[in-house]
């Protein structure tokens, strides 16, 4: 509160790169910053730096649609994201920065009986793992979101929904800044505009990181570079089973808020929420092809506008203000690739698809533990890169042909 009257620096200005750090984190997004923070806070590992090629939070952390939820299909996923949501719930207080996490409820709509079965399955898994989620019918949906048309009029009438009360939205940039501030306070060096250009390797380990600002020797490396993870891993001589796709979203001009819950329709491939500023924030499916091109597509705007109006005809005259793209790293089973790799001291947080932001705090906690102790926490063991060698995948996909 006192910061209101006296402006206080959030973090130190960028300093010189030291010759060596115990841990070099590549990527100044929510995952990298959270990992650095928990390394310093929980394990006393403070000789840590963050190398970020642009400004902090410039990648997926600042481009996602800010939805937080834990109602995943697999037990592994539900347990992992369940812990993430619990961390998020107290993060504002822990970091002393209001992340504006509003758990106003998350509804995944079902427009077919097949979808309803998938919801049922998720709800059952969630309940067993202590994640609050249940299948509700049109009447309950209407009570939670009276603006939604639950009649038979739409082409795809709403048959039910997976209701996840703890789900909601958060201020994504605030998460990045709060972790950055806290990490910086504990002595972590944050180096924005410092691009990794290569790794020096010896004996199956990374010995130093090359950047556009010089060379840094390192004890361990954590790569948390959604979108570029295959390129960074490639520099370390590692191949990840990941394809990179763009995901697009848009906001409307600010309107007086009326939509409190988060509405998702996988049939119509849109998710809709309304921010505390009043903008409707609408996102879609990833594009099916691989690209790094950030200019986006018109067809995305057209299709998601059509689908948004299918759900909310009252948005017909609302105006699109701004659209943007982000990069998503897709793994074959839609679950992350987290932890150790074949390169001894090179750890990854990647393959998050569209789910990465939801996992930031728990990734920080678990990855920090791994880096500090050398032991992979049970919670993330199923997400090891090794699973693609042993073929023990963790499928978040319900059916081969149907995406999330």
């Amino acid at each position: 509160m006192k910061d209101i009257f006296v402006p206080r620096r959030m973090w130190r200005p960028r300093g010189e790169l030291k010759r060596r750090y115990d841990v070099v984190v590549v990527g100044g997004g929510s995952h990298g910053l959270a990992t650095a923070y928990y390394l310093a806070q929980r394990h006393g590992v403070k000789d840590v730096c963050i190398l970020e090629k642009s400004y902090i939070g410039s990648g997926a952390s600042g481009r996602n649609t800010t939805i937080i939820r834990a109602n995943y299909r697999t037990p592994e996923g539900a347990e992992f994201y369940g812990q993430s949501v619990r961390l998020y719930e107290k993060l504002s207080q822990k970091l002393g920065f209001n992340l504006m996490f509003s758990q106003r409820g998350h509804l995944t709509l079902a427009h077919s009986d097949r979808a309803l079965v998938t919801m049922q399955e998720r709800a059952e898994v969630n309940k067993l793992l202590g994640v609050n989620s249940s299948v509700i019918g049109p009447a309950e949906i209407e009570a939670l979101c009276p603006q939604l048309d639950v009649s038979e009029r739409p082409t795809w009438p709403i048959m039910g929904a997976l209701y996840h009360p703890p789900g909601g939205i958060i201020r994504h940039d605030a998460v990045v800044w709060a972790f950055a501030r806290a990490a910086d306070e504990l002595g972590v060096d944050i180096h924005p505009y410092t691009e990794v250009t290569g790794f020096e390797r010896a004996n199956g380990r990374v010995t130093a990181v090359e950047t556009n600002r010089g060379r840094v020797e390192c004890g361990q490396v954590v790569s948390a570079t959604a979108g570029w993870s295959t390129l960074i891993a490639g520099m370390a001589g590692l191949r990840l089973p990941i394809t990179t796709h763009i995901l697009q979203a848009f906001v409307t001009e600010p309107l007086k808020p009326f939509l409190d819950v988060v509405i998702v329709s996988s049939q119509l491939h849109v998710y809709v929420s309304q921010t505390d500023r009043g903008e409707f924030l609408i996102g879609a499916e990833i594009e099916p092809y691989t690209t790094y091109c950030g200019t986006g597509t018109l067809s995305f705007l057209e299709i998601s506008a059509r689908h948004s109006i299918e759900l909310f005809p009252q948005l017909e005259r609302a105006k699109v203000l701004r659209t943007w793209t982000g990069l998503c790293d897709l793994s074959p089973d839609y679950s992350p690739i987290l932890g150790r790799t074949e390169v001894d001291n090179f750890h990854v947080s990647s393959g998050w698809g569209t789910y990465g932001f939801k996992a930031a705090p728990i990734v920080g906690v678990t990855l920090a533990e791994l880096v500090a102790t050398g032991k992979t926490p049970d919670l993330i063991a199923p997400f090891a890169l090794e699973r693609f060698h042993t073929d023990t995948l963790v499928s978040e996909l319900a059916a081969a042909a149907v995406s999330h």
Partner: protein, 861 residues
């Protein structure tokens, strides 16, 4: 009050239009905008600002700034300064608690300042945690601008039109017109898009003019959508010429948002277009020649020009607009107070580069001009005129002027210079970070009015050159666009079979099955339809099955390599069940494959899988280069499954061909003429009874159906079919299997032939064969009379260990039966396991083999 008629005025004084502002009747002339008509009627306050609820009046009169956002005929956030006036329009103020001239939330401006600096919400309302929902409720109550009718339905019809242009010129200013004429002299196919409707089309011979219209962006391949109100033109242009000109920029001084502050061109528009006197006593602050022209305009309109300051010659340090009730009443110029009610000020003109930048062009600060200019254009895109910086004078105002009061960098978001300075102090030292923290450039103007001022301020505060600051990424669209327009005609594709209307007439309850509409059942008692199939005869429309013809000398080789099982050794006239596997050896789709001749196969797929399977076949065929053609005949053919003990007898009455048990054996495929229609008849048994799948041209659908029904076949829907197939333990791909299921875990280990040279996914299937599966798909019977919902969990020690994928009550079996994934050590026949149903654990036992007619005698009979 209007001025005497001006030459070239746009209003038609002979046609008066009346409209409403809230409860008041107001009027204007044809040719007015809503904004000009309201101004003529004496209205000066048009809106209340986003955060501080400060009164705001006309500023740019060009549709850029947020100051005139109002709700018109229920549509929020309309820029009334450019919205044409129409008879009967209903205009309402927005973001106001109380009245436009007396907004109760103005209190935020009066006392909120010290408590609500930039990002205050990040520092406050943190504890206690439980209070946040309440705080947030308050925040949401005051957030947002316009209000949508929460329960409105579709109100408008929109259309999309695809067009081509050789040259598409955006902007009808001097440079744009010249470029259009130049291009037109070389041939047809030239289109010019302009936001205003003032262009003289006669001067643009050979050019197609779209106005008023707005190019929204330039996407890859020079795809330019043009907003024409209710029609979206999707242009593909060989060349795009951007001639969007410039946008007037605010001068940053305390009180620069007060009602009565205007840009020079706004003043000119009010005077020349609408014959309005913008004020009585004016002060003009100019940074370029254009700014000075305002003084002449004002003089002509009879406004007393109290002071003209050319900031290039007589620079000031202190400019402070002084207010009475939110309106300009004077201005302090260094130490000199000049009384006025109109303050015309501008910080120069900024090239309107957004379209170019959005399309991938580069933008840099030009120190010679003092503005941001586009430096590198995307391929196929050119820029002409002042948008390139051409013809601009250097402008060099102070990034901010001293004085008391709030000094706005961004009027959309109420961001003051103090906020920006504070952000820098706090460490948000890159312009992109500061954008996210202060929200500068994120408001309705999308940076049109605040990008340049914030760059100038940043450079000053960080003591670096503007060239080192960069700019925030320009994002489409160029101007806000209605969702309805982007959506176009509201069409959601629906697939219906040729029997769709027959089903509806018969009283079927239709449901979605993938992209198809299918009958769920024909009454509320699907079990009766099940019984009919078991006891007598039923017919189901299976036209939704994907149907492919694979033909050619190497058709057999292609299928051999696509499927894990064998098709090359089949005799013509025989059928085999096939399952497709992915590269990873997972189950992808299933169906039957009939060999019709040596070179011709007829393949069916699941109803939702036909497109994916077609693409899959074509992909691999292209990779391998086989001499085989693939034709998707899904829509061309109807398909009916006639099933039940009476099926043969019924078929015999409808055909003269021999369909006896000897002539048409189980898994035989023959052409049979049924009621005069040549039908490819497949003898298969998905539902477990004697059955014939008739595939024939779609147009004959109702004819064949009607005759089968007349023979006593009871129509049955998807639900009875699901029960029937479950009794046989037949798997539905996508329901009983997921993206991880493989042939071995799904109980079809007999299917893959690992001695084949190759097939898609073979190495993975070989791996599966060597290891133990984690989980297996098994049949089960419930111990109690409870039907577990599909998706219910198999629970071991409180942890999810498997799941039910299908479950139904079967009268025929006399039990509740289903399919479930269970851990492989619990998959033995008779093993008991527990399923969680409505919070209770219910027992079930693994059952191997089909529940009904395990030997398959009935379907083979």
């Amino acid at each position: 009050m209007r001025l005497p008629a001006q030459t070239g005025e746009r209003i038609d004084r002979s046609t008066e239009l009346s409209f409403r502002l809230g409860p008041w009747d107001v009027s204007g002339y044809a040719g007015d905008t809503i904004g000009s008509a309201l101004f003529a009627g004496g209205r000066r306050v048009f809106s209340r600002s986003f955060k501080y609820h400060r009164p705001r009046g006309l500023l740019c009169c060009a549709g850029h700034c947020p100051n005139c956002l109002m709700t018109v005929d229920g549509v929020p956030n309309v820029r009334v300064c450019v919205e044409p006036l129409r008879e009967g329009a209903v205009v309402e103020p927005q973001n106001v608690l109380g009245k436009l001239d007396f907004d109760l939330l103005r209190v935020v401006d009066k006392v909120g300042g010290p408590f609500t600096p930039v990002g205050f919400y990040y520092r406050t309302m943190i504890r206690p945690r439980r209070m946040w929902p309440l705080y947030e409720k308050f925040l949401r109550n005051v957030a947002g601008l316009g209000k949508l009718d929460e329960h409105a339905g579709h109100t408008r019809r929109y259309d999309v039109e695809h067009k081509k242009a050789r040259v598409l010129v955006v902007g009808g200013g001097r440079a744009g017109r010249a470029a259009a004429l130049e291009a037109a002299s070389q041939g047809p196919g030239v289109v010019l898009v302009d936001e205003s409707d003032r262009l003289l089309r006669s001067e643009l011979a050979g050019v197609e003019v779209l106005a008023p219209a707005r190019a929204l962006g330039i996407w890859e391949g020079n795809l330019v959508p043009v907003d024409c109100g209710t029609v979206l033109y999707r242009f593909r242009a060989e060349r795009v010429v951007v001639a969007t000109g410039t946008i007037e920029q605010p001068l940053v001084f305390p009180g620069n948002d007060l009602v009565g502050t205007m840009f020079p061109r706004a003043v000119r528009r009010l005077i020349r277009d609408f014959s309005l006197q913008p004020g009585q006593r004016a002060v003009v602050l100019a940074t370029d020649e254009r700014g000075l022209e305002a003084a002449d305009d004002l003089g002509e309109a009879g406004v007393a020009v109290e002071r003209v300051v050319d900031l290039r010659e007589s620079p000031l340090r202190r400019i402070e607009a002084q207010a009475r009730a939110g309106r300009v009443r004077g201005v302090l110029l260094d130490d000199d107070v000049v009384e006025c009610d109109l303050l015309v000020a501008s910080g120069g003109r900024q090239p309107a580069y957004s379209l170019l930048a959005q399309a991938g062009g580069l933008v840099e600060f030009d120190p010679d001009l003092g503005v941001l200019v586009p430096t590198e254009h995307p391929p196929g895109v050119e820029a002409v005129g002042s948008v390139t910086g051409e013809g601009l004078e250097k402008v060099d105002p102070l990034p901010s002027y001293h004085g008391r009061g709030k000094c706005f960098v961004c009027v959309c978001e109420d961001v003051t210079t103090k906020d920006v300075k504070r952000a820098i102090t706090e460490g948000f030292d890159s312009i992109e970070l500061a954008k996210r923290y202060t929200t500068v450039t994120m408001g309705p103007c999308q940076g049109k009015l605040c990008q340049l001022p914030s760059v100038r301020l940043y450079a000053q505060e960080r003591r670096v050159y503007e060239t080192d600051i960069g700019s925030t990424t320009a994002r489409p669209p160029w101007a806000p666009v209605e969702l309805g327009l982007l959506a176009g005609r509201h069409l959601e594709p629906t697939r219906r079979t040729s029997l769709h209307f027959r089903h509806e007439e018969t009283g079927a309850r239709m449901m979605w099955a993938g992209p198809w509409r299918r009958p769920y059942a024909y009454s509320d008692y699907p079990e009766q339809e099940v019984r009919a199939v078991h006891e007598s005869l039923g017919v189901i429309d299976v036209s939704t099955l994907g149907k492919l013809l694979v033909e050619g000398p190497e058709a057999a080789a292609l299928l051999e390599r696509l499927y894990p099982n064998r098709f090359g050794d089949m005799k013509p006239g025989r059928i085999r069940y096939g399952v497709l596997t992915t590269d990873g050896g997972r189950i992808m789709d299933d169906g039957t494959v009939a060999r019709l001749s040596d070179d011709l196969y007829y393949v069916t797929t699941t109803s939702t899988g036909s497109d994916a399977v077609t693409a899959w076949f074509e992909w691999w065929n292209a990779v391998w280069g086989y001499d085989a053609d693939i034709v998707n005949v899904t829509g061309a053919l109807a398909a009916l499954n006639l099933a039940g003990p009476r099926a043969r007898e019924a078929l015999e009455r409808l055909t003269e061909d021999d369909v006896s048990a000897e002539a048409l054996k189980y898994l035989d495929a023959r052409e049979v003429e049924v009621v005069g229609v040549p039908c490819l008849t497949l003898r298969i048994g998905f539902v477990g009874e004697l059955g014939y799948e008739l595939h024939f041209p779609s147009p004959a659908g109702e004819h064949v159906w009607d005759r089968l029904v007349a023979e006593g076949a009871v129509p049955f829907g998807l639900e009875p079919q699901r029960v029937l197939r479950l009794e046989k333990g037949h798997v539905i791909v996508g329901q009983d299997t997921d993206s991880e299921s493989n042939l071995l875990s799904a109980g079809m280990s007999w299917l893959p032939k690992l001695d084949k040279d190759d097939f898609v996914g073979k190495s993975a299937v070989e791996l599966f064969a060597e290891r133990e599966e984690r989980e297996l798909l098994v049949g089960f019977r419930m111990e109690e009379n409870v039907v577990p919902p599909e998706g219910a969990q198999v629970v071991i020690e409180g942890y999810p260990a498997g799941r039910v994928t299908s479950a139904r009550r079967s009268d025929e079996v006399g039990a509740i039966i289903g399919l479930a994934w269970v851990p492989s050590d619990r998959a033995e026949d008779g093993t008991r396991f527990e399923i969680r149903v409505e919070r209770q654990l219910r027992g079930a036992r693994v059952t191997h083999g089909a529940f009904f007619d395990p030997a398959g005698e009935r379907m083979r009979s």
